[in-house]
Symmetry: C2
Subunit: 414 residues, 2 copies
């Protein structure tokens, strides 16, 4: 391992980021990628696509920073002035690059399109930068050097930036940085942050002295993140934490809850079906985000209306009349119906009130019933979680997947 310590900063240029129209997912992606090769990111800065703001950001780079990653402002349309400002900042000039022009033209020809004058501008490039090929677009990346630092300029389109990072920059930088703070994560579901913190405090009062511990709550559960220099020590704490937290620990990897459930099913050779009311297809979509899910996931029914619950899933109308659509009895019938119709080994069903309307004093918005039918048992669980329609769907989806997970784990134990 190299002793030189590299530190990065990220500057994202874009009015759409400052306007709040676009969420800055580039900064997170780049940070994770750089962390992966031992280069910590010290700061993210987002500035307007405007000369003075860009120059101020470049001038304001921190003393410790060795590598600066800049995105934005290299697209084909006229609102991108960044290239000229930046070239000037590094003391160069934009000149026409015939080779780049020919490449862009070939790219267009291959797609049956004609090069527009706007795209011609993408062949105007600095005379003082190393150019980086962009495998997914017409805007080249650029490398400038100044004041002992290296500056990387990339387009703001995530797909193109990622191509440049993955194919050209990360392989070159990997192994150059000395620092690799080791990290372990513990993903939990169904237990409050303060309760976990207290349990850890009680069992491992010395933990905070040895490693740093952070808590990251979301609809996906609470993630604990331990960082330190000694991998063996981290592993010891992780084992200890897993022991005290039991089956509320979902995973130690960055995999999603859906991946955990799919893996459990695949290992056991089990097939899965879903009957969704208030989650409206979200659980199916989370499952099918995973490559290879087709080997486990048999079919999904989005039965939003009572009619669909009766016609598609075979729920007895008497149950719906007697207990209502959001009830333990209805989700149980939905799960059994989905299992029977699909022939799957496991079926989960969800019915609840996603909001903002439809709540009542007995069943407020956020009330969701979940059932999982597996073997000769049907587990049910009720949640109350109201953080707005979309978050309610996401939380209910995670809770449903978690109940499948618990059903499969319980099966192993019994």
């Amino acid at each position: 391992m190299n002793d030189t310590q590299l530190y990065a900063e990220i500057i994202n240029i874009g009015d759409e980021l400052l306007d709040g129209h676009t969420v800055n997912s580039n900064a997170a992606w780049m940070s994770a990628a750089l962390r992966g090769i031992g280069i910590p990111v010290l700061r993210h800065t987002v500035v307007a696509d405007e000369g003075a703001a860009i120059v101020r950001a470049l001038d304001g780079v921190m003393a410790e920073t060795t590598h600066v990653f800049v995105t934005g402002g290299l697209g084909p349309t006229e609102d991108d002035r960044t290239k000229a400002v930046i070239t000037d900042y590094f003391g160069g000039h934009l000149v026409f690059h015939q080779d780049i022009y020919d490449m862009i033209e070939a790219r267009f020809r291959a797609r049956g399109r004609i090069l527009s004058p706007l795209n011609r501008g993408q062949a105007m490039l600095p005379d003082n930068a190393e150019l980086i090929p962009n495998g997914r677009g017409t805007a080249s990346g650029m490398i400038f050097r100044k004041g002992g630092r290296t500056f990387y300029l990339m387009p703001g389109v995530p797909y193109e930036m990622q191509d440049i990072m993955e194919r050209s920059l990360l392989p070159k930088l990997a192994g150059q940085s000395g620092l690799r703070l080791i990290e372990r994560s513990v993903h939990t579901f169904g237990i409050p942050e303060s309760e976990i913190a207290e349990m850890i405090e009680n069992h491992f009062p010395e933990l905070r002295r040895d490693v740093s511990l952070g808590f990251y709550p979301s609809v996906k559960g609470i993630t604990l993140r331990l960082k330190g220099k000694d991998g063996g020590e981290l592993d010891k704490y992780v084992s200890g934490i897993c022991e005290i937290l039991g089956d509320t620990v979902v995973s130690l990897n960055p995999e999603s809850m859906a991946e955990v459930v799919l893996t459990l099913c695949r290992e056991r050779g089990l097939s899965l079906a879903l009957a969704e009311s208030c989650t409206g297809g979200l659980i199916s979509s989370m499952i099918t985000d995973i490559p290879g899910s087709s080997r486990v996931f048999r079919e999904g029914y989005v039965a939003y209306s009572n009619e669909a619950k009766v016609n598609v899933l075979g729920v007895d109308p008497e149950i719906l009349r007697g207990y209502g659509a959001v009830s333990e009895e209805t989700v149980r019938a939905m799960a059994l119906g989905a299992r029977e119709r699909s022939g799957a080994d496991i079926a989960a069903a969800v019915s609840g009130i996603a909001g903002p309307d439809g709540g009542s004093p007995e069943k407020p918005v956020g009330t969701v019933w979940i059932a999982v039918s597996y073997g000769d048992r049907t587990l049910t669980h009720k949640i109350s979680y109201d953080r707005g329609r979309r978050k309610n769907k996401e939380y209910a989806a995670h809770a449903a997947l978690n109940l499948i997970r618990l059903a499969l784990l319980a099966d192993v134990r019994s």
Copy 2:
């Protein structure tokens, strides 16, 4: 309208943001909210939850900035040191607030939970700040003043920050800022950025002189954003652009493609069913993200396997054998099957290769067939778009919704 111009900066404190574990959605949300009340955001800065970094960020606020919004580091667990550092920065001390403690305790009691010593720390608050109530958590917001600027400190949990902004800060700041750059958006689907840019250039060569125009491409299509000071002038350009772009214009509002389709259905009193293969429930989930969608959306089938396409949707096995699951014939049969089984007025079906595996030279990854059955017609459309499994699903979902939209618009015209 007030003449004073306010300018904001946002500072987000959080190791999880710099690590890339969490995408900074707070900055986007806050920026959009501030823009809505006429306060432009000049910069976003993300720094580590570490004293020196926080102080440097506070010291580095730009000369023009009048209001600084800071999030992060106010949670119940020990990794949040921010409060002490910031209180010290503004020359105050943390003192125990009995009234806040009583409120936190009452909150816990109402949920049947016992206050942990960690939560007690949340009642330690500065003696030199105005406290802002947090309706959704135990960490209070704070207002400090220094050097003619106002600093707002909020917890990093989006749901809590949003409560503080919406209930306390935005109403107070609304109407205080003089600048309101007027903005219009045109959302398009199915036409390349450079083509739109050229059409606008040709028809309205003077546009760039009068207003600023930005292009924002994503899987949702391309959004054009016009900004200027004269609303009438902007409206004139928007009408002109809509005329030249025709039915590739999806909407002038920030509504989603799913909302546009739902509105078209609702206006016509039509019901909708979906049969999804490669999108795996995503379209159903996008539709059911919208409150009130149950009045239009009848049912959804996620028919991932060939068996499901036959059993659930009634696709003739001969069609699957003869043309394959990803073919015009199969999606047509899926759409007709979904329409028949659900009794809905319109049904859309999607079948494709989401990747990363399953492609072939004739049908590479990203090949997706879409069918929409409505009235006595079934429209079909093929797309080729490969930017990774998740993006492929999202693009296919938007393309399917767009085909429903076009089918409904064509019906009006014919």
